[in-house]
Symmetry: C2
Subunit: 356 residues, 2 copies
Amino acid sequence: MKVHNFSAGPGILPAEVLKQAADACINFDHLNLSLLEISHRSKNYEKVMDEARAIVKELFEVGDDYEVLYLGGGASLQFAMVPYNLLSENGSAAYVNTGVWATKAIKEAKIIGTTHVIASSEDKKFTYIPKGYQIPSEADYLHLTSNNTIYGTQMHAFPESPIPVVCDMSSDVFSRKVDASKFDLIYAGAQKNMGPAGSTMVMVKKSALGKTGRKMLSMLDYQVHIKGGSMYNTPPVFPIYVTLLTLQWLKANGGIAWIEDLNNKKASLMYNEIDRNPLFYGTVATEDRSKMNVCFLMKDPTMEAEFDSFWKAAGISGIRGHRDVGGYRASLYNALPLESVQVLVDCMKEFERKKG
Amino acid sequence: MKVHNFSAGPGILPAEVLKQAADACINFDHLNLSLLEISHRSKNYEKVMDEARAIVKELFEVGDDYEVLYLGGGASLQFAMVPYNLLSENGSAAYVNTGVWATKAIKEAKIIGTTHVIASSEDKKFTYIPKGYQIPSEADYLHLTSNNTIYGTQMHAFPESPIPVVCDMSSDVFSRKVDASKFDLIYAGAQKNMGPAGSTMVMVKKSALGKTGRKMLSMLDYQVHIKGGSMYNTPPVFPIYVTLLTLQWLKANGGIAWIEDLNNKKASLMYNEIDRNPLFYGTVATEDRSKMNVCFLMKDPTMEAEFDSFWKAAGISGIRGHRDVGGYRASLYNALPLESVQVLVDCMKEFERKKG
């Protein structure tokens, strides 16, 4: 049976990418060798790395003032690397706290230097995006989290900032048009819209680096990785290759304009049903609803067990909410087809009929 | 044509493991989902992580005083994490410098704290293993590198140490019997004997941790990863799974005793030919020759181009030496069959006949 994969991350990847990934495990690039057992210094793999770095700049429409890296360790390592590379010894950093991941980023920044939380939605359990806050002009940078996977909120606009902006886009990168030139640094764990788990994309403006005065450990220094062409050490070879395939799939199908339109359709279909169906309701401020992670609850939680059997029987997978929120979360990442959302919506309608 | 893969790393993996890896890209664990698109918190993947951690302790024959982690970032990140976790604020660390990787480990340790190089073979371009050195009893730990991939040397015995021993076993882990109980910490980038690139195994004695007094960044703190069951953050899901498959292959075929015997046979076959064949010679001290990376040169370097065409025609891949050493390097990692070594040796004999 076909599975409709709404997993919050690692998330769904295009079927054709998975097929190409499987093929590369057996015979990569006609070498009669697996991608898993060749040197990352081979010209066949250097081409993968070059293309994987270039396609990010192409999709973000930025020039040679930016560099792209693929690093191991996950976005969680970036929570530390960002302040380590950008927060000067006597400076400060400004953070907006919009959920669990932002909170973790703040915790690491505080270990490294003076860190101010200039806005937070913690007062309402992160169910909205703070707006209209003052950005301190003396801070080294402003850190944002564009989408909140757990609570299901998303920044639909970014603040005008007098200081460099850093953004964790792990859960909505390449899901919509963004003016990347407004950011000094964008990072994203690959395992939602970009590829499988195991590598994190970092796009950084070269002019932002080398200013902290800090003596740095090599592996935590963006400039070391840039100098090494993102191969200072052995990179996560296979995850980066599958990321390249996924971004090539995105580009070949129409790029950001195409996927933004599709993602809008999927989110509308989903939220319209939540708002219409008397059995369900959304959990976050309407204007801040995420188009990637749709969180909703049942008005009568005692019906949950029955509803769970119902959607499971329809081949739906991965819509149970995060343990901090409960209820349901449908993640609508790039590779999820509109048909899967329709199946879930039909399931909700059917369940309403059954109960009514 | 069958390729004989002598790559120095990422290196050869067993054909049956590659087949299982490809299958998991399409349908993992009968879920009708790819391993690349499922949650690492699913019970199907938690089982993989549990087994991958357990099999390391089983193969090393250690008990519950040790913990096993799989981390992103490569062994290069461990060059920093080891001193960060073990070198106390007012203490010192002792390092033995046996090549490029040890040199890099020393560089990172020096950024973190007082680091003494207590022995080195740099005087002879790392062509031997230092022995008989004094280990300072007041140092926090002694750091060793068991095998030198680039120069082709290997520690065939480890020194008796009055202080905890840390060992980078990236290029010879699980290639032979080692008394793991003599080490407080063993780490290994997976991409040689353990699996594909993208994860690094760390086995650490719990009692060694928590003593530095250092306020630590979460992702660099072994105790944080231990507490999270090696899933504090999203792990490199696929690389760890393929590592598990590779270690299961090792165990199913007879474990460490079996592979050590096979590796001895491969190394003997190779070194015997180098010593016998008048066209070639080995580059390192005979008693310190690596059984994993066999480095050799041609007595007449003008013959190299012709020899290169010759072995390439036989389906041999990846025996060009590292750029720092030149000549040839045949890497005989666990998954390389004896037959491949025989093909290379036959090639050398054939070339000798041709030239003689």
